[in-house]
């Protein structure tokens, strides 16, 4: 086997070793199950943030009809409705993938994770689409 040059001290260009606190978040080299895991965590974190946001917003109800109804008017504006679609999609992904995680994760269907993930995502996409049409069509 012939060779021509040997380069030395080339700066690091390859992907770094994955050990680390946010190692789970690195999507490089991931396959379907790995992406499902990342997606599940990201949607989960998003929903946690939304949960506390939701609880804070509900406190407007204490301040009486005007405060709440003003908020509802804002919330029914198209940019907010778009956020609702985003939220609904996140919930669907997390919830439907959650069914997969529950079934597979307790060893009930230990070997069908890929098919279940695809099925969950197809359903999620379909319901999100119907939901989006309803949310925007409901005006």
């Amino acid at each position: 086997m012939a060779s021509t040059t040997v380069g030395r001290g080339r700066p690091a260009t390859g992907p770094a070793r994955r050990r680390g606190m946010l190692g789970w978040f690195d999507p490089r080299g991931r396959r379907l199950g790995g992406l499902a895991f990342i997606l599940n965590r990201l949607t989960g974190l998003g929903l946690v943030v939304y949960l506390y946001l939701h609880l804070m917003i509900l406190s407007l109800l204490v301040q009486g009809p005007n405060a709440w109804d003003d908020f509802v008017d804002i919330a029914l504006s198209p940019p907010f409705l778009a956020l609702d679609v985003f939220l609904l999609t996140g919930m669907l992904i997390h919830g439907l993938n959650g069914i997969r995680v529950g079934l597979v994760g307790l060893g009930l269907v230990a070997s069908r994770q890929k098919a279940l993930f695809i099925a969950a995502m197809v359903i999620a996409a379909f319901v999100a689409l119907v939901g989006a049409l309803r949310i925007f069509g409901g005006e």
Binding site: G7, R19, G20, R28, G34, A36, F37, Q113
Partner: protein
């Protein structure tokens, strides 16, 4: 390897280098231009580099046919056995050691931590369950045997995002080995193994990324083994719960 083929090409092999003597093991990448043929594997390329370009390059290898499990490494960021991973098409390929294990030197990782957990499972090397349907046993052969599929390469551990974050996780290989003991106890009581792996740092630590099973070069499917181990663990817990401490 001296491939006498006409469509030879040259590929730039970028190799992760780390020596204890270099700045406390500072990482650097060296590049080597290597002639490759259609059948040249990453291991062939590394052997050629060591022989012709840099005799100090260190990497693990032994059997050259995906049976010993020593040459697990990461090729362009993905785990594989160098001996059966062809040099990919393209001008450049990056070769790095397995992740989630300490690097000894260059592409060599320290397997001690891997075996510490793995050994706890107590899995025998040879299994009794046979794979060729309908085959009879010859006179004098007590039971047909075959080696366990797992070749202890550490690829699953490297691919695992949880082990990537937390070294306390016992990892897919040890859990798959434990499941083999449950699946085929060969006269032993698998109870202690199930209890050992029914732990937040064992079977329950997995987050179902399934990367281990996807990466396994030997068809072991550790992820499914972990899930089945969980079912056994839940079953054992339920059994203990409903026997009202009778096991104590």
């Amino acid at each position: 390897m001296t491939e006498t083929v006409t469509d030879a090409r040259t590929t730039r092999v970028v190799v992760s280098r780390r020596k204890e003597g270099d700045d406390h093991g500072a990482l650097r990448y060296d590049t080597f231009d290597v002639a490759v043929g259609p059948r040249t594997t990453i291991l062939d390329a590394l052997v050629a580099i060591r022989r012709e370009l840099d005799p100090t390059l260190t990497f693990r290898h032994s059997c050259f046919h995906a049976s010993c499990g020593t040459c697990g490494m990461r090729v362009d960021g993905r785990e594989g056995l160098a001996c059966v991973t062809p040099v990919p098409a393209g001008d450049e390929v990056t070769v790095e050691p397995l992740g989630n294990l300490p690097v000894v030197s260059d592409l060599v990782v320290d397997m001690d931590a891997f075996y510490d957990d793995f050994d706890d499972a107590g899995r025998p090397l040879v299994r009794a369950s046979e794979t060729i349907p309908g085959a009879a046993r010859a006179e004098g052969v007590d039971e047909l045997e075959r080696y366990e599929d797992c070749i202890e390469c550490g690829i699953c551990l490297s691919a695992c995002p949880v082990a990537g974050s937390d070294p306390r996780y016992v990892g897919p290989a040890a859990l798959a080995a434990a499941w083999r003991v449950v699946e085929e106890p060969r006269g032993l009581d698998p109870g202690p193994v199930v209890r050992l792996m029914d732990d937040e740092q064992a079977a329950w630590r997995c987050h179902l990324a399934w990367e281990c099973s996807e990466a396994c070069p030997s068809g072991v499917d550790p992820a499914a083994a972990i899930m089945r181990l969980r079912r056994s663990a839940v079953g054992a817990r339920a059994h203990r719960l409903f026997s009202f401490g009778g096991n104590r």
